[in-house]
Amino acid sequence: MVRFAPTSLPAGSILLLAAVMGAAGCATSIPEDALRLPESTLEIRAMQTRMFEAPAESDILIATIAVLQDMEFNIDRIEKPLGVITASKVSDADSKSEKTGLLFLDILCAAGGGSGCDASSTAQDEQAITMTITVLPSLARSGEFTVRVTMQRVIYDKMDRIRVLERIDQPTIYEDIFDNLRKSLFLQVSSQ
């Protein structure tokens, strides 16, 4: 027969403790609003979308691919009938000021007699950016296309642990991409 060690805790508390431990150890919850449109949808869509004119859909797709190459992305997939291009790149996410700060923390920690001071290993190391560009021909007017760019990135630290998962939201980045696309489209059309 199994005998339990005597305990001064009431049985109810033990049950509660076990339930909490069980839940914390094994269960995860799905956020309620995981697929709910955020209130800022229209604003974000406007930031990510521009209208372009081009003789054919292929012109705008070729110009877009060239822009992605200009920005040092690799093309992962293209689905031409749907006008979808997915591209990605991994680049440096090192920040000197962050590294200096963390090194200072490590020095303080070591000076205080601490062991296992490895704040520096949490420094940002590289970022993986994925981008989707969609080209939607206008149903009403031929030669008009809506181009939409969406981006997100993962930042890893020196130990390859994920530090940040985020959508890229800076409007200036989108502006720059659309400026580049405008130039690329001009070159593409005028070279024909």
């Binding site: 339930a19 939607l136 149903l139």
Partner: protein, 138 residues
């Protein structure tokens, strides 16, 4: 005393059962038909291609980037990296000559999304995108 022992043994069983070595999760936990119902909507439209474009626009609205899209088989797979990692596959199938069926399934990290309300939210967003695509409103 006996009752006390039973009460004490419950937390131990809960602790171990909760974290026991699990069999391979291949077939999923939900009932096949029930999950299909939760994950599927039909639309009165002739155009599979425009429906797919609406699905892609919806996924973009929800912050996803597209991993893969296949217009022939009507499949779109997308990933969202925002605080957590979420993956969705949406399929668009022509039903007869007048309807299109859209099915979505989602996972967050290692958990399947089974909550009907979450899929309902997705289809509310898709309804809007379908309207915008068909009427070309931006």
């Amino acid at each position: 005393m006996k009752r006390m022992r039973i009460m004490l043994s419950v937390p131990v069983v809960v602790l171990f059962a909760g974290c026991a070595l699990t069999p391979p999760d291949v077939t999923g936990a939900g009932t096949q038909l029930e999950m299909r119902q939760i994950q599927t909507r039909e639309y009165d439209t002739l155009d599979k291609q425009l429906t797919m474009r609406s699905v892609i626009a919806t996924l973009q609205d929800l912050g996803f980037t597209i991993d893969q899209a296949d217009s022939e088989l009507g499949t779109v797979t997308a990933t969202r990296l925002h605080q957590y990692s979420m993956r969705m596959t949406v399929t668009v199938v022509q039903k007869g000559t007048e309807r299109v069926s859209v099915r979505a399934n989602a996972r967050i990290g290692e958990d399947a999304v089974t909550d009907p309300a979450t899929y309902q939210d997705f289809f509310v967003a898709l309804d809007k995108a379908m309207f915008l695509t068909l009427h070309q409103v931006d």
